[in-house]
Every structure is written in C-alpha cells, then in structure tokens.
C-alpha cells in the first residue's frame, strides 16, 4: 500500500458506469458507489519485473552476505547459523551472474559502473581480492560478511562488462566481455593460471592475474576444486591447475600453471558447455555429445572405463538420453538435461530417485511428474540444472526451483535439515531465473512475477 497514489480516472468511471456495463448485482446502492470514489493505481502499464537475489545455507562464513546473521546488530538477537529458507539479499545493482565457492560467494552485474563484482564469505586466500580492514590498511579481512566490491584491474573500467563469475575451493575467475579472464585466490596448484611461487602467502594478497594464452576470446569459465576450465568462442577447452585425478584432461597427472588446450576425444570438437565442481569434469558438444574426464571413483565415468581416473577427455556414449543440452557435475554425482527437458542422473550419493537408488553407472531418468508435470500442466520441462558438491538444483521453464540431495548445513533451502531423496520445490517469492550451488549454501537470482 505504500506505493499507492490516488488518481481520479474519469475513463474508468465511464467504463464502470451503469450504462455500458452489466452490473452483476441488483442492489442500486452498490451501483452508485461504483461510480464514485477514487481508483488506485499501484503499478503502471510499462512496469518491468524487479530482479532480486535470495540466499540460504550456512551463514557463519559470511557467504550469505548478511552480517546480522553472524554478528547480530541488536543485543537481543541471536546469531543465525543456518538459514533454512530463502532470504532476500539487498544489492545495489541488478545481479546477472552468481557463483558459490567453498564458503564464499561472488556476485556480478553487467553494469558499466566501476563496481561490477561483489564478494562475500571466506577470504583467507584472497579469493575475494584484497578487502582492506578499517583499522589497518595493510591487512585484509579473512571473513567478509557483506557483499564487498572486488577491485578488478580493468584497463577500461567504464566500458568493460563482466559476463560471468566462477568460484572453486579457494580461487575465483571473473570473465569480462572484452578484457579476458581475471583469476584471484589460491595458486598453490596453478589454478589461477600464473606461475606458482614457492611459499607464497595468499592472504592479504593484491594479485589479480589477467590470464593469457588463449587463442580466442573466452566465453565460459568454470572452477573445479583446485583446477579451472575455460571454453573459448571456437569451442576449444583450456585447463590449468591440479591434475592428480586427471581433471585437467591434459594427458598427465601433474599440475599446470598456465592454460593449455585440452585434447583427447575433444580435439576438433566444438564444445558448447563445460562443467566441474569437484574433481570430475564434463563437457557437452554442440551436437549433443557428452565428454568426461577426471575422477571416476564414484562411477561418474564407469560407462567407459574401469579405472578410477581418466586424464584425457573420453566420449561417453549413452543411448536413450537423446541430445544432451546441459551437464552439471558435483563431487560424486552427474546430471544431464536433454533437449526435451528431461533430467538424467548418475554417480554416487542421493541421486533423486528415492533412498534405494544410491549409486548408478548409467543415466537414470528422474520422472517429470516430480517437477510439476501433471494433467493440468502437461508441458512443464526443466530448463537449467546445476550441481553443488552433494546436491542438485533444477529450474523449470515455469520459474520453479527444485532441489534434492544431501542437505549439508541447510543448503537445500527447504526449511528443514534432513536430506531430500527426490526433487522438492523451494518456495521462492518470484520466478527463478538462475541458481548457483555451493557446498553448504546457495544463491538464487529471481525475477518478480509482475
């Protein structure tokens, strides 16, 4: 009601008048009342929906960006350790991309203003950049409780836009449209794409490295636990970082300190999407084929190999899944989305088909009735899937968010701390546009309904 203002609308009075309008009631008194009185306008005709950010999960790291959960602002309030349902996070700008790492979050906006990326949460390895403390200008905060600006060393800060952010265990990547990729945080295994320095101290570090070595502009970045993957315009995949499980896909199990093109079955293939979050990496080509490499201890790649690791990308031929459009992999599980909007899962853990299915080598279809498909809505399909370390998230085309998996410290956002064995709706006030999953928290980018 606070947004209302009076507007005596004469056209409405005529439209609602007794002449051209069939009054449903025979009461003459109410017919008169309809002609008098003001008509309120709460919303104009050209109203655009509001964009909001919702967060939930474990709050003590500061990853939710709400300081009063960790340090209550009133003496009577108690600190809130787990936020079990979505909570609104106020942001200055409209956030277009969000990423959740291991205890920290990055939010970015595609604005031309000077502040484009905000970070909150753990900052022991400067994964959120240098956050100068109030007391001492040489020290940086170890835990950032509020969304704070990440100082990117852009050459043209008022023209470049940030396209996407990605977060791993202790490092982050920021992708811009014209200035390439910036990496910050821990570089002990070369995951930031720069030469490893012995005994480097990462906390209170000012280093934000602009990555080199790509032959084409990068269109997508993803962070694994201690490695990074890059996808260029031509569909080529680059990797750097920790490779002990072969997750870099470079044909060896060593670390790599600069981005190198990935070969194997991906040589000459145009990739449309890459994904990783733990130690297993996957890619989808433009013609709907699925490739995987890295850790296979949890049956993620067991369809093509008995080994526990593959260090070079291999094609994963699955029948019955159709043309794959998206893939998401977490610590022990993988999910794919095909062009018909069906979700297939496999791996180890809570896969989403009840407590009895805890591991699978081949893709298992998650029944679409669990995503809201019924006789009333026969055409509901899933439009995006994401994986956290131990859970899944799916966004349908109707803007509903479904989560399932292990409820690590309340990261599912369903209001309880128990694990969820099949897809469950998260009550978010609005139309969910995108979601980012972390280890123990999640961020949702939501559009208001009207």
């Amino acid at each position: 009601m606070s947004l209302a203002y009076l507007r005596l609308c004469t056209q409405h009075r005529l439209a609602l008048g007794a002449r051209g309008y069939a009054t449903p009631t025979n009461d003459p008194r109410s017919r008169e009342l309809k002609d008098e009185g003001p008509v309120f306008q709460y919303v104009g005709k050209q109203r655009k929906p509001n964009h909001k950010v919702f967060v939930w999960g474990f709050s003590y790291t500061g990853a939710l960006g709400i300081p009063s959960f960790v340090v209550p602002d009133s003496g009577r309030k108690k600190p809130r350790k787990y936020q079990l349902t979505p909570y609104r996070l106020e942001t200055e700008q409209q956030i277009s991309s969000a990423a959740c790492g291991y205890g920290f979050t990055l939010l970015s906006s595609s604005t031309k203003d000077l502040t484009k990326v905000w970070g909150m949460g753990l900052n022991r390895d400067s994964q959120l950049g240098f956050q100068r403390t109030q007391q001492d200008r040489h020290k940086s905060y170890d835990y950032v409780l509020e969304p704070s600006s990440v100082p990117l060393p852009l050459a043209r800060p008022q023209q470049t836009r940030v396209v996407q952010v990605a977060c791993g265990r202790a490092h982050s990547l920021v992708l811009t449209d014209s200035e390439g990729v910036f990496s910050l945080g821990n570089n002990a295994y070369g995951q930031c794409g720069r030469k490893m320095v012995e005994d480097e101290v990462y906390s209170a570090s000012h280093i934000i490295h602009k990555m080199e070595g790509f032959d084409n502009p990068v269109t997508q970045v993803v962070c694994g636990q201690d490695h990074s993957l890059f996808l260029t315009e031509t569909g080529k995949v680059y990797a750097c970082g920790w490779g002990a499980d072969g997750q870099t896909g470079l044909g060896h199990h060593n670390m790599c300190a600069r981005p190198v093109a990935v070969g194997g079955d991906l040589a000459g293939v145009k990739v449309q999407q890459v994904t990783t979050y733990g130690d297993c990496s996957m890619a989808v080509s433009q013609d709907g084929q699925l490739y995987g490499w890295g850790n296979s201890e949890y049956l993620q790649l067991s369809s093509v190999t008995e080994a526990t690791q593959i260090n070079s990308p291999r094609l994963l031929p699955f029948e019955g899944v159709g043309k794959v459009t998206q893939v998401a992999c977490g610590g022990t599980q993988v999910a794919i989305l095909n062009e018909r909007g069906e979700v297939f899962v496999w791996g180890y853990g809570i896969l989403g088909k009840g407590p009895n299915l805890s591991e699978s080598q081949t893709p298992e279809l998650v029944p679409p009735t669990l995503f809201g498909r019924s006789e009333f809505n026969p055409a509901v399909t899933v439009s995006r899937i994401h994986c956290g370390l131990n859970h899944f998230a799916a966004v349908t085309d109707r803007g509903e968010l479904f989560v399932w998996g292990k409820n690590v410290r309340g990261c599912l956002g369903i209001g309880k701390k128990e694990d969820q064995y099949f897809p469950w709706r998260v009550t978010v006030p609005g139309h969910v546009v995108d979601v980012a999953c972390g280890v123990d928290h999640m961020v949702a980018l939501v559009k208001s309904v009207i």
Binding site: D27, F40, D419
Partner: protein, 335 residues
Amino acid sequence: MTTPSVRVFHKLEGLFSIYKPPGVHWKLVRDTVETNLLKGINAAPPPGPRQRVQFLAEPTSVMAEGSSELTLSAASVPALAHHPLVSGPEFQHIGVGVGHRLDVFSSGVLVLGVGQANKALTDLYRSHVTRDYTLEGELGMATDNFSHTGRLIERTTYDHITRDKLERVLAMMQGSNQKALLTYSKVDMSTQEAYELAVKGELRPDGKSPPIMTGLRLLHFQPPHFTLEVQCLNETQRYLCRILHEVGLELRSTAVCKGVRRTRDGPFTIQHALTHQHWTSPDVIQAIRQYRSSRKAGKAKHTQPGKDTGTASQRQEMAEEAPVNRVYFVFVKLF
C-alpha cells in the same frame, strides 16, 4: 406388506446429484426435493382396503318373530383405520441427506441421498474426493466479502494485466499448493514409498488439511473479466472467493468473485445433475439408476483386486470426461 408406496420408496433409495441455483439456501433446496419425492411416493395408488370380519347382529325384521336367541352373521367389512383419508399419507417424512454443502452465493452440483443411501453419503462426505469449480472473476474491485455482492472497499486499475502475467501468478499459486499437498500428506519423505507415491502423484493428505487446490487453470481472460477452473480438496466457497481476491493482489490490482459454480463433486458431474424442473421422483429414479450403471461400468474397467481392504470399502479410480481426469474416493459397496 409392501405397499406400492414402499416399492417406490425403495426405488428412490440411492445417491443422485441436483443443480443448486445461486441465491438459494441449500436447505430450501433439500426441503423442496424432499417434498417432491414425498408427493411422488404418496401418489402411488393406495393398497386396497383390508377386509376384516365383523359379526353383525341379525336385522330386526327377523328378530320380530319372537325368537330369544341372538343370531349373528359374519360379514367382511373394510377396515378403515389405515385408509389414507383417516391416517394420512403413508410417508410423511423421508430422510434426504446432503453431501458437500454449497453456500447461498454458489451454484452447481449438490449430491443428495435418500434413505439407506445416507450411509454411503457420509462415507463420500468424509472421504477425500476432489471437487471442480468454475470461478468467474472481475478485476478492478475489492469488496469486504470477496464477492461482487459485498461492500466496495477499493477500486484499482488493471490495464497492466496481461494473460501472460495472470498465468504466471496462477503457476506460482499452483506450485505452492502442490507443495502443500506433499507437506500435509504426513508421509515420511525419506522412504522409498514416499518417492513412489510422489512419482505417481498419489501423495495426498489423508486426514485434516487446510484447503488445497490440486489444479488451477485459466479458462477465459478478457479484462476485466476472467474465468478460472479449480480442482480442490477440503475447500469452502468463501475460500475460493478469497483465492480470486489474492490473485488480484498478486497482480498488484484487486479482483472480486462474480460466481462460483461447482462442476463436479467426486464422481458426480454437472452433465447428470438434475435441474429445477426435474426434481421429481421419476427423474430421480432414473438418475439413480444411471449413476449405478455408470459406476458398475467404471468398476468393470478398473478392478484392482490387490487393494481390497478388510472393510467394505474399495479405493477406485474413474476416468472422467470433465476437464480433470482423475478422482480418488472411498466408496461403500452397497451403493
């Protein structure tokens, strides 16, 4: 002895549905139907009067002959104690029970049961069948009782509302209702059974639950008028008017309800509901027979012998031609 009236009454014992017009209290409707059925029952020809033997004294002309004996002659005389003009009509009251009630503002299918069928009616009433409604709404007004007959509280503009926005709001409401359906089903979600029931869509609240809409659809939209089709459980008509009000609020405008029409109550649809002219006993007898035969046909198509419980009740699924295809209900074998 079964009289023709009793035979007519036995034919009338069953469940049938009538169309309750708006603006009338359900009790008046029930009383009218009861009166009409009584008229039909009592219109049956009364049985022939019973004869009883009465010993009559001899006529005086014979007595005058001087005989001192009292002679009696037997005569068959009609017994008038049970004549309808003496004792009144045979049936003065029959038990007509009402299923889920409709308030004065609403109209639509109202299920009635006569005589022994009232037992089946209580089972139907207590079982968790879903009901279909068609709600007519109008944008731009808010009243105190959520319907157009109430006192006007506020008027708002509605030119920003498009069909797309309305459908998004309805999708959101349906999503929260689907979640309520699972939450109130009181099944442990960490079991494999819960997953299997959820996949089939059979996870429903069994006991008490707040009103839940299992289906919501926009039928017609022409600002300021729109029509919704709702399939719900445990609802009241006032709650449905309130739903329309809340749809208006979500759209940053206001809305009132102009009409609530029940199109289906469990297995009874509006196609077979009797209208005002047909609230007479021959039509009711035909409706009961039609319903029984359709149920038998339904049973023959969907027998599930494995699911028979110990009591005389059977869980059954019936395909409906109505907009929603599935209906679940518990039913007594008698009717």
